[in-house]
Subunit: 271 residues, 4 copies
């Protein structure tokens, strides 16, 4: 199977590059299934139902979230009616939505999508390792599901690499989100799981993690209240990866970075 | 001027790839000046005087540090006698060593090397922004110094990008270290400063940030005391960057990633 | 029922004052049941089986723990054979020991003892609120158990007061431990639960939270490695509380502080 | 000299008990100088100029602050015109206001008031230990100033006790604020400095650190956005301490807790 993953969409600039580039990328890469992290798609903070529709229309099959999933309060209301929108699965019991579900891909194939949040330097949710263990017990990669994509929304590289090895051989892909910077460590781990510490954001990199830079710099240099953060609106970079898996095992055969537009060096896999 | 920066050397595997690859890279890239972060070079934690000599012999002009600078206690004793070994400059007054100094480069040129540590999700040192401001007041890029390299040892991408913009136009390079994962966001900022959020470690990436993976995974899945961490000893990747600056301004003309050996996709700039 | 709770025993000084004072206090206050937090009783870090016996011999019925429960590794081995030693119940599944159990008190009465750990500014364990909810569903205060004592080992006063209100009316006592300083906020909450943010340590207060003060001060003023911490060995203060409950409801009728010995102002309830 | 210190005033309930009780306490205790922490006096967050006047009118000589000093933005504007309002002195250079100043007391005596903020589990300001050292170099207790009061606004008991010992013999009083819970560890340290880890808030203790309890409990049990916090408006407790110093040395002769009103056990020193 051919899959794409796209990192945190930040604001209008992020949505614009997604809308402009994803349809062509999806077609050129013959992608069967596309997962997009949308936690910052609405003004840099959260997601609205209208923007969810925009991201799905651009070619996403599933939209994942993170610590910003609820920044637009309306998401708490509509997430249960929109199963293609996910949130980290390790929120406490009773939280609207879910972060583990099986979706249909072309050819009758099944894709398990998992969304979990880390705890190091973050608000403590339930143990993401234990929650993953529990979810993986319900599925069998290469048998009941043909691919499994884990969006691990986390801050620390140690927790991300630990999760990669913990999930190795049991998911097709473990990709980090949340830091808003793409890492250059794509690899296939010993057990066959593709891994990248962070997909990077899809937003304007002439910024501080997607936000106009003046206010964040002030927050570090002075320790006084500032204006609100606002998303940078220069030309954005779509950041993500392309993954090819073996349908018989669900494991990775090839993983390559995607960076299109904006300030970062461009790279698109050749088929 | 042509400069190289190499990220955190982790243990023997990191030293081996450095010793094997740096001389050739330095020669092929005609590098005038090389900075290497060595905070994890001794068993993954700290640096000894013997290992400092090993890194200098491999082709480093200056060796920078971070939160692990003192893990080998002997470093507190010898750092003042070895000016090519630096530590973050924003340690409290009275700390042995220094993190801001001017070094000679070929052709009578001067290179200012700065080493600072971030505070977000880290032990709070003095304000790295204020300390940088104070140090930059002593020098004038393109006049008193021909290049200035800032190794910003920090955890959070927000603090790193903020530092990049804060230093923009005033240093040749602002490169992050500490997360042990290379980022794919090399760019030249608006003011002419080259930037990368993290150079990545020089170590074995079949690991958890350079350490054998079993123990770190246990630390996340159980919450009990474990054995000590030990550096992974598989084939390592040398991670860093190549920078070309304009001697008249000290600003960046070109910045490109370097990754050689081990598990990560290889890339070396073509001259 | 009359109960006593004694806060974190720190080192030999803490054990000495416990051994000297607890028997008399227990007798004078006609206490039916005594809970002692012992997480720092062995050299300031953890507990050994020998020291557990010493604390039980001094008059404790149950010894609770915290983040330091495992500092003496042998505790992982013997805790399952010694049911009177508890550890926070919200450690991950599979952790040796337990933090919720019913014990016998005189007159055929039953006491539920709960030990949980907070997550704010601490290593994230499982959600203590959810774990408490689950445990309280198994018991009925005033019916199946005659009293219930919750040792909430936590750093932040906000999490502690939130836990107090969350547990209010469902346990006899919610008392904090871990900060090693007694608070002067003993009260009976609206629902009938006695509350104190922290019982304080049982140790030498001429110290930094029970440890000889030179090294901790150095850790704050310099940021260099130091010698190990060692428990202060001056005269210690036994810190804790006395609680009287109504056996028919399990709720609190009276709660008063106990401070005996050492530097703090002395207070013992009059019967 | 006879001094009073009153802990963080929280909202209207805190102001009400202050206005009602402080004049009588000041008179009965013949207090020469009164310091009140006001960082939460305006709706639980920050301070306005009108409320500053209210607190001064109730009998405060100086009003100190903390991490909430700027929650009411107008404070950034008026603090420089109102020298009796202080903020932690270790905010970065350029911050409005100050946290170290000498005030007049009756009989031509001088009182140095210091306000510093801790860094453990808090936003990192400049090093409070180094800043204190620098300020103390300007004054001589018992000679140029007759008393010195340090309000150390900090979270962790370890940092507070370390500060107490660091300042011991050089200030009359080191009292903590910020946790909003009074501690029962008032003592005179070896060098003659009176110490209390936290004065406690002046607010309604039927709450979570002064705020209505429903919302804080929800924040711990669910991890979803909630309504704003609002100060609890039940009857408040005035929390603080009374200190008597020797004018010739500036050191403490006697220190005792004050708790008046509301839910906590009442205590007022007898003269
Ligand atoms: Fe994000
Ligand atoms: Fe995020
Ligand atoms: Fe490192
Ligand atoms: Fe580091
Ligand atoms: Fe303790
Ligand atoms: Fe503890
Ligand atoms: Fe406060
Ligand atoms: Fe505060």
């Amino acid at each position: 199977m051919r899959l794409m993953f796209v990192g945190d969409i930040v604001g209008r600039a992020g949505r614009d590059v997604l809308t402009r580039e994803l349809p062509g990328l999806r077609r050129d890469l013959k992608a069967d299934f596309v997962v997009v992290n949308g936690e910052n798609s609405a003004r840099g903070a959260g997601i609205t139902e209208k923007i969810l529709d925009e991201i799905l229309a651009a070619g996403a099959d599933v939209v994942t979230g993170g610590n910003h999933s609820w920044d637009q309060r309306e998401a708490m209301g509509f997430i249960d009616k929109r199963p293609r929108l996910m949130r980290p699965h390790n929120y406490p019991a009773g939280t609207p939505g879910r972060g583990a579900a099986v979706f249909d891909a072309p050819g009758g194939r099944k894709v398990l999508v998992l969304n979990l949040m880390g705890r190091l330097f973050m608000d403590p949710l339930d143990d993401p390792f234990a929650v993953l263990e529990r979810e993986l017990a319900k599925h069998r990669l290469g048998t009941t599901v043909h691919a499994a994509v884990l969006d691990f929304h986390a801050e620390a590289t140690s927790e991300k690499m630990a999760m990669g090895h913990f999930a190795d051989g049991r998911v097709s892909l473990c990709v980090g989100t949340h830091t808003h910077v793409p890492t250059a460590d794509l690899m296939i781990l010993d057990g066959g799981t593709a891994y990248q510490s962070d997909a990077g954001m899809t937003g304007d990199y002439n910024s501080v993690i997607g936000m106009n830079k003046e206010v964040p710099v002030l927050r570090f240099t002075r320790k006084l209240p500032t204006e609100r953060l606002s998303p940078a609106e220069g030309e954005a970079t779509l950041c993500g990866l392309f993954l090819e898996t073996d349908d018989r095992t669900g494991l990775a055969k090839r993983v390559e970075p995607i960076r299109v537009g904006g300030r970062l060096s461009e790279t698109v896999p050749a088929l």
